[in-house]
Subunit: 117 residues, 2 copies
Amino acid sequence: MSYDPSRFAPLPDPPYYAVIFANQLADPAPGYEAMADKIFELAQTQPGYLGAESTRDAGGLGITVSYWADEASIRAWKAKADHLGAQKLGQQRWYQHYTLRVARVERSYDGPEGRSL
Amino acid sequence: MSYDPSRFAPLPDPPYYAVIFANQLADPAPGYEAMADKIFELAQTQPGYLGAESTRDAGGLGITVSYWADEASIRAWKAKADHLGAQKLGQQRWYQHYTLRVARVERSYDGPEGRSL
């Protein structure tokens, strides 16, 4: 357990957008890791991509939050991911359940220096 | 690995608010589990609390997203958590790093039935 800065996303000035994706991975989830890597690489090259934070527990419950400059960049990324077949495979094979929310970030801070909400 | 509905938050009609908290837990983090349980119980009794999704990997990287009816309910919850000393202990003992963002949820869906973003 040690702090890895690469696992935290930057804190640009709001407003910007978050895609909050919580999901229960099936076991097994054939092909999931390779596609997840591909989608993440793709996101990083997309206009408007600001960063992501992602983790998954031993039971397969994962949360990934990706951050975007605006809604147009989210839509463009989704169209590219769909082209790879990611959404279809996710629905058919990998996710027992998921929730996805698109939210507009209004304020943010980091720590542990401590700033008030 | 199996789907546990209690680990997913409901999908109320937007708009509502998300508090996105990503954190790297220190090792050891004395007293953390007990306080986390207490804060979660407290949240559930707070006006405006809509649910939460939370997970942490073996390396201690956790993401908790809690959902709230409005900003006033987030502030009221924060004031209560501060009263327990949670924020101070988090800053002093538990978190090597964290990011916290407050965001307004604008749309949401769940799956794997499949609906478009």
